[in-house]
Amino acid sequence: MKSKKLLIVLLLPWLSFAGGQEIYSENCEKCHGFSQQGSLGLPLYRSTIANHSDDYLKKTIKYGRPGRIMPSFNLSNAQMTKLIRFLRAGVKAPQYSQAVIAGDANAGKYTYEQYCQRCHGAQLEGGEGTGKNFSWQKDREVSPPALANQGFLHAAEDQMIKRIIMKGIKDTEMMSFEKEFNFTDKMANDLVAYIRSHEKPMEQKLEPSAAKEPLVFVYESANDLGTTVDRLRDSAAAYNFRVYPSRTLFEGLGGIAGDDEKQVVIRFCNFKNMQKFLKLDPRLGVILPCRVTAIEDESGQVKVYLENYMHAVERFNNEQISIDAQELINNMKEMVEEAVW
């Protein structure tokens, strides 16, 4: 009898994680890493998770971080519970009251500008780029969270924010401001009130703004295929793109047909832009390199096909990329318009 009880006690932690690991592997490990060490997503160290209530983690999973890479996940309550249990690995969940902290937001703004802005940004927009990426060296171990992000504000309890300000987070750059800068209770309350003042009603998930735009822009060229290709190459160079040798559309795929020569891909890249985008999100390579395709049809008419990259860009849930990409796409459209005119 005793040995049975002992066996149950020994197996209990394993039984409670069962399922959670699979849910993690399926949904989280791609961005947060095999052992929660962080990558595209932030590290999910036990010492970090120890600061977060179950409610905060569930809301984070449910809402994600709009515009900050972390998507929302449609997991059931039971799945989320299992996942959180797995992430905690036996560490007890903290309990925070839902009570709103009263403070002076104006005084909090001053404190924020003095102590927090350097990492979290003037508009509480957080650091650039992905959570913690091994592909490039950054000046910080992780990208500082965006405190004005509505996903964060709807998930975080005031008491949790206050605790993190005062005590810091172990194993991260978030220090204890109580210890390092002698923060008082009032200073922390004012700061929480200031952060909370950025909260807005959670918007319903809107249709992506690119949804009404075409997937592909099509242009009719006034010139023959050879001239169109030459003009596209010249135009790309004039727009500060480095132009690669052109290829036929199916080159390398092994087929042989005379009309393949009438489908030409013009590839180009602005390295400065590329590196800027890769730094914001290294997954952006899936839409590289920039290209247009010129096709001559049976009647001799040449058309140029340009992907509307905004559709692809919206998949990254990255506000900064969406803003920067619009400018790039406008440039590419102008570039093609000049070439086919």
Binding site: V216, F250, E251, V265, R267, R283, V286, P289, R315
Partner: protein, 151 residues
């Protein structure tokens, strides 16, 4: 015909669930870049695809504060099928051949692709929709098989 319609319905349901949830197809591979690259090449061949060319995007990355310069894009496809589709729908041309991005992440690699299912609005017949669905399923299967080779 009935089987085809049922298959199409099943694919549409499963794919719409997927599309609503995960916009990019990503897998983390427990292997360095060179091993992942080899596994990808092998898996593509097993799925009867041909690698068309590779695009290196690692130009000067390691001179610009990147820790790794292992960043490449592999273009691949099936000649006959892709030629038939682009002849019928030239708007597909910007997305042909299909591509998978491979990047190194420390001791791991990430393999990433945009789901071909997003091309669905560009085609008009059930047969062509089936082709797009199959590309989508193939892409998912390729990524999954590369990942599973280094579990």
């Amino acid at each position: 015909m009935v089987v085809r319609v049922i298959a199409l319905c099943v694919l549409m349901v499963t794919s719409s669930v997927f599309a609503a949830h995960s916009e990019l197809l990503i897998e983390r591979v427990n292997a360095k870049f060179s091993y992942t690259w080899l596994a990808l090449d092998k898996t593509l061949k097993a799925h009867k695809y041909k690698a068309a060319y590779l695009q290196r995007c690692d130009f000067a990355l390691n001179e610009r504060h990147y820790k790794s310069d292992k960043y490449r894009i592999l273009f691949f496809g099936k000649y006959d099928e892709m030629k038939r589709m682009t002849n019928k729908y030239p708007e597909l041309a910007p997305f042909i051949p299909l591509k998978i991005t491979v990047m190194e992440e420390g001791a791991h690699s990430l393999i990433i692709a945009t789901p071909p299912i997003t091309l669905l609005p560009l085609v008009k017949t059930d047969e062509d929709r089936m082709t797009i669905f199959r590309w989508n399923e193939d892409m998912k299967s390729i990524l999954d098989q590369v990942r599973s080779q280094y579990q």
